[in-house]
């Protein structure tokens, strides 16, 4: 049985509850706590465990299914998607999302594509240098 104990929703987090649930399930799969092929708690069970509405869990599962993170078999419930690359894929999606944000905020600041590239390179160099110093 997969444990849902650590799934905690935050009221101070401005995002809708279904997004918070999706993120916490994705994290569990990404770190390997919820391995591929394992059955997820039923929608009703997770709703009761978290003390929130059934429809919110339904939406979270529906969106996770669309992302390919879980697989739902009609009448049988949902399982974690199989394949070694699920964790990697989640990190990849996360990475792509953050990159998009960097570009968007850069554009908002009026930076040109060249300038955004340069800033990314700088950040990369700074982090690699810091890592070297530690070792």
């Amino acid at each position: 049985m997969l444990s849902t104990k650590g799934i905690v929703l935050s009221q101070a987090d401005g995002r809708p509850m279904y997004l918070q649930i999706m993120e916490q399930i994705r994290q569990r799969i990404a770190v390997g706590d919820w391995p591929g092929g394992q059955p997820l708690p039923s929608i009703r069970q997770l709703a009761i465990d978290l003390g929130i509405s059934v429809i919110t869990i339904k939406r979270a599962y529906f969106e996770l299914e669309r992302e390919g993170v879980i697989v739902t078999q009609h009448g049988k419930g949902s399982v974690v998607a199989d394949g070694a690359d699920v964790g990697a894929r989640i990190h990849e999606q996360d990475f792509a999302k953050h990159l998009e944000q960097v570009v968007r905020i850069g554009a908002l600041l009026g930076l040109t594509p060249k300038e955004i590239q340069a800033r990314l390179r700088e950040a990369l160099e700074r982090l690699t240098a810091a890592a070297k110093e530690r070792t």
Binding site: Q11, G14, R15, P16, M17, Y18, R44, Q45, A47, I48, G51, I52, S53, V54, I55, T56, R59, L108
Partner: protein, 298 residues
Amino acid sequence: MNDVALTLDGVGKHYKFFDLDDVRLELPHGHIMGFIGPNGAGKSTTIRILMGLVHQDRGEVTVLGHRMPDQQAAAKWDIGFASEDMRLYDAASLDWHMRFIRSIFPSWDQPYAQLLLKRFDLKPEQHIKGLSHGQRTKAALLLVLARRPRLLILDEPTTGLDPVARHEILRELTDVMSDDRRSILFSSHNTQDVEQISDQITFIDRGRIIDSRDKESFMDRWRRIRVELPSGVQLPALSGVIDIKQSGRLAVATTNAFDGVLPRAYEAAGVRVQAVETMTLEEIFVENVQHSREGAHA
């Protein structure tokens, strides 16, 4: 018909200073409906009509397959009702009340009642007279929950409770949903509670249903769009935008009919979209009431 816990169809009731007008509602089994609206909007009147305590002037009301108010005696075996003005006998103990309800309702679940005593931190031997407001509210809910009715109708079940007690009540209500043939309708001013546990949200104001749909779609239609206007660019009037607050080149538009098209329409008009924000039920509540009142005065 059997997969519906309750329906109201074209229900109206006239009072000297208030009209409930053409109320249509449907609650499928296995769902929790949060019923919200400002003071005096008609929540309690609607709930009283559902319970057969007030008779509608027109319209059809069906609860658990029984027509109300005519068949209310049959319906009430399976309805658990709790409201703020519910009176328990001051001179009797909670235990006395529990034995009394148990003697009437064969569905009474004694082990569950014992569990609720513990969870709600209530002492059965204590007399009602000595209980605080919050303890009375919890006692009344215990007496209703332990009957395990198929339909719970609760008028303001969490009002006046401390955060721990409120949390316990919400837990019990979601726990009821482990049986998908049971249903709950509850009214509340606590939008956080409603947002947390409702599958359906119904919004009423001045005797009319403003909106009633599943919670995810309800919340999804509302967005705040923060925009920046480059000099010389005017904010275009777009349909679905119900409020605009602007100072200088920054503006915030609120919509109750959001789709992906809206931000793109702004950008097509030369407006820079800075952020699209979701809203809490509390914020939606306030916007909704203000908007519907402005519409009425226009």
